[in-house]
């Protein structure tokens, strides 16, 4: 009765992020706040070192973003981040491999793990969160096992120096982060391989109807997510000079938060790599800032958990179907 003649009922979904580039304003505001209140914050070396750390974690957020665009969540990124570094150590210490070979192998093994998780998810139509939480448990156990086997041993200088290299005083990992973000952003908008992720995320059934192989695409993205997480973890571990069990712990929380506050939706169809990058910058700068205010790490954890729940709640408010239980 409330419909005017000439208009037909159409689906009522509203999809909307926090105004698209809100995350950039948030990051800017955070930077301004910290610059004004902390003397040591806005110095080249401090900002540079924050970005250096962000870059490792950003690599783990790439595949995560691709997956969230398709409405899948990968909770195993943190554990694979740690496991990548542990494997690198394992291959170097136990098999006397060269650093590049060890890194390549670690990344490849992780990709296989991601592929397996993706395969199970699409084959049996499982909830990806459930599957990846299982993967997380397995990988965490393996990680722990490996790290304990060579605790105390350090990588040779040659196997870790490469992380701090750079051009014009900027670390190469930061440059690579920006390059990946920009290139992938362009590909997401213009190439058929990545653009189809949005189609799948908006309505996978429609995409399948018109011949898109949604299952294969999802599997590949799970593999990318795992491989890039391991890659980030390898770099982080190399910088620390030795494998450590705490590497990557709870990273998945930071990344979900980063992705959702930067405008991705857990319902799929939204998300951008550049914005995710800003999201990761936001989260890690926030942690850095809280530390500089001597806020206890546990309080930081409470704050991050609260931000996660708030971000997801706002996403649901904005994007969930008005009726029914999608979240």
């Amino acid at each position: 009765m409330d419909k005017k003649a000439g208009m037909t009922p159409v689906s009522q979904t509203r999809r909307f992020g926090f105004a698209d580039w809100m995350i950039v304003y948030l990051v800017t505001a955070l930077f301004i706040f910290l610059s004004l209140t902390r003397n040591a914050f806005f110095t080249y070396s401090n900002v540079h070192s924050i970005l250096h750390e962000v870059s490792f974690n950003f690599y783990a957020a790439i595949g995560f973003t691709l997956l969230i665009i398709m409405g899948e969540l990968d909770l195993s990124v943190g554990s694979l981040f740690g496991f990548g570094g542990a494997m690198m150590g394992f291959f170097i210490f136990n098999y006397k491999m060269s650093a590049p070979a060890a890194i390549a192998l670690a990344v490849a093994v992780s990709a296989l793990i991601g592929l397996a998780a993706g395969f199970l998810t699409v084959k049996f139509r499982l909830n990806s969160m459930m599957v990846t939480i299982g993967v997380m448990m397995v990988v965490k156990g393996l990680n722990w096992y490996l790290v304990n086997r060579f605790s105390g041993r350090q990588f040779a200088l040659s196997a870790r120096r490469f992380v701090s290299g750079g051009i014009f005083g900027v670390k190469w990992t930061i440059i690579l982060m920006v390059v990946i973000a920009v290139v992938m952003e362009i590909l997401l908008a213009k190439s058929r391989h990545l653009k189809q992720l949005y189609y799948i995320g908006h309505n996978a059934d429609t995409a399948i109807l018109y011949g898109i192989n949604a299952k294969a695409v999802k599997c590949v993205c799970f593999a990318i997510s795992a491989a890039m997480s391991a890659f980030g973890g390898v770099l982080m571990t190399a910088r620390l000079a030795h494998p450590n069990v705490t590497v990557g712990s709870n990273l998945e929380i930071s990344i979900i938060t980063a992705a959702v506050i930067s405008g991705a939706s857990i319902f799929g169809g939204r998300g951008s790599i550049v914005r995710t990058m800003f999201g990761v910058i936001f989260v890690f700068t926030l942690i850095n800032g809280m530390t500089s205010f001597n806020i206890n790490t546990y309080v930081q954890q409470i704050i991050l958990g609260a931000i996660l729940i708030l971000a997801i709640y706002l996403d649901i408010r904005a994007n969930a179907e008005p009726t029914g239980e999608r979240a």
Partner: protein, 513 residues
């Protein structure tokens, strides 16, 4: 037979959904203690009418009178209070629980707050006995019952609430003849207890057997209320259901087949699925429009999904242009230039929140992009513009989103997306569902146009006039099997409807009665 008093009166009810008029000015009345059937083709307005009676929808105009009192707007809960209960076609059952709990969902039998299972099972057992289900133990999990018995259990749940009016929507669609016969017995008994029963079905035999009176709806209009006496025959019912005036310009019955000679374009061989589809074979020629007609539950829609690989089937093969498709999936078929126009654009077929150009690019992503995979947006815009012009789609701009368009234009966008890859075969499932007459005519025109260019088209539709005006040949399905074929030139609504209503389906056992 004594005249029973009117109990439920439907007065001048109209209801529209957007431009689609579901009911216009329908009036009739139902008497206390009668079995009153509402009959009509799919889309005749039965379900809308039932929704209005159960309070799930409110009429734009008109009102309902219950027992002499006018009820204006009421919720399903109010309907329950007034004693109106409905058994939905989609079962509202709990497969994980026992028969007894599915009947007495409110746990009526308690002693001191503790559920008294002994009493519950006893009472359930009595009710089951009473309705000829004595063989079912009250503590059986519902999941282990047949569909038919599950349906009976849901009906029993309504009955134990002691309703005044009970509405059954296609209650026999999942039942075999024996089970349906048992249900009939139960309904007769309820009638003797002065319960009013509104019965919705297309099974004419059943209707003749059980109803006191039959109200026929046709295209949202009241057609007739017929008393089930010796004068009522199945032909009378069919004539009332389909008695349209087809002399208007909208539907011109096709008399000459446009199918081209030569090897078949598509061949469906021995398609079969347990409990869903009996062995099915047919072919499609170049330039042919093949219609498939079936009433609800005939399996036509599911057959269309199986051909396109959207639903699994147990056996059979599909060949396109003489080539057998090894694994039938949408992707494999798109590669063979077969496209599928979905029947429900809200569920799948459109990306309502993405630009029209994005929608159009979906099936041709690989053709639009070069070696590096970059999409040629200029070409895409050109193609889209072409279709917008060709199908006169009304758009504010190419970057408009389908969700903001009217149903007719949405349907045209969806059809365009299917035609962008220049398919050789188009499978159209309900191609004009829920759109206005203007858009409908246009879509009919487009379908005939592509067929004349040599494209093979299969139309699955529950609208007879649509099929008769488009098809070169109509396959009629009933009870999970193709039961008849009517050739162009022999079309009459009666002939086709007779197949759909009585066609002998190999999927069923002996008919009794």
């Amino acid at each position: 037979m004594e005249e029973k008093p009117d109990f439920l009166k439907i007065s001048n009810i109209s209801k529209s959904y957007g431009v689609v008029k579901a009911l216009s000015d329908v009036s009739f009345s139902i008497r206390r203690g009668e079995i009153h059937t509402i009959l009509g083709e799919n889309g005749a307005g039965k379900s809308t009418l039932v929704k209005i009676i159960t309070g799930e929808a409110s009429p734009d105009q008109g009102y309902i009178e219950l027992d002499g009192a006018r009820v204006l707007s009421f919720s399903p809960r109010d309907a329950h209070k007034m004693g109106i209960y409905m058994v939905h076609q989609e079962l509202a059952i709990f497969e994980n629980l026992t028969v007894a709990e599915n009947i007495y969902t409110d746990h009526s039998f308690k002693t001191g707050g503790r559920i008294d299972y002994k009493k519950l099972y006893e009472e359930t057992g009595k009710k089951l006995d009473m309705f000829g289900l004595g063989a079912v133990a009250p503590d059986t999990p519902l999941a282990s019952l047949t569909l038919a018995n599950q349906q009976m259990i849901e009906i029993l749940r309504c009955i134990v609430a002691a309703p005044k009016v009970i509405i059954l929507d296609e209650p026999t669609s999942g039942l075999n003849d024996h089970e349906a016969g048992m249900l009939m017995d139960i309904l007769r008994r309820l009638k003797d207890e002065n319960m009013t029963i509104i019965y919705i079905s297309h099974r004419l035999k059943e209707i003749m057997r059980i109803s006191d009176r039959v109200t026929v709806l046709r295209d949202g209009h009241f057609a007739a209320t017929l008393v089930n006496d010796e004068h009522l025959t199945e032909n009378v019912l069919i004539n009332n259901m389909v008695g349209r005036d087809l002399s208007g310009s909208l539907y011109k019955i096709k008399t000459q087949s446009g199918a081209q000679e030569g090897a078949p374009l598509l061949e469906v061989k021995n398609f079969v699925k347990k409990n869903t589809l009996h062995e099915t074979n047919f072919t499609l020629s170049r330039g042919e429009v093949l219609g498939v007609f079936g009433l609800e539950g005939s399996g036509a829609s599911r057959l269309s999904r199986m051909i396109y690989g959207l639903e699994r089937f147990d056996g059979g093969s599909l060949s396109v242009s003489g080539k057998t498709i090894p694994r039938v999936t949408p992707r494999a078929l798109v590669k063979e230039r077969v496209m599928y126009l979905n029947n429900n654009r809200k569920l799948a077929g459109l990306l309502p929140d993405m630009k029209v150009t994005d929608n159009m690019s979906l099936p041709i992503l690989d053709k639009l992009s070069g070696k590096l995979g970059f999409i040629d947006f200029k070409r895409l815009a050109g193609i889209t513009e072409n279709f917008v012009r060709r199908f006169s789609i009304v758009l504010p701009s190419l970057s408009a989103k389908p969700k903001n368009l009217s149903g007719g234009n949405q349907q045209k966008v969806m059809l365009s997306a299917c035609l962008v890859p220049e398919p050789e075969i188009l499978i159209a499932n309900e191609p004009t569902r829920g759109i206005d007459v203007g858009a409908k005519t246009e879509i009919h025109k487009f379908l005939l146009e592509i067929a004349s260019k040599g494209v093979g088209v299969i139309i699955f539709s529950s609208e007879l006039p649509e099929l008769m005006s488009l098809s070169d040949r109509i396959l009629v399905m009933r009870n999970k099997a193709v039961v008849g074929e009517v050739k162009c030139g022999d079309y009459t609504e009666q002939a086709i409807m007779r197949h759909a209503a009585f066609g002998k389906s190999p999927a069923e056992g002996t008919e009794n009665g």
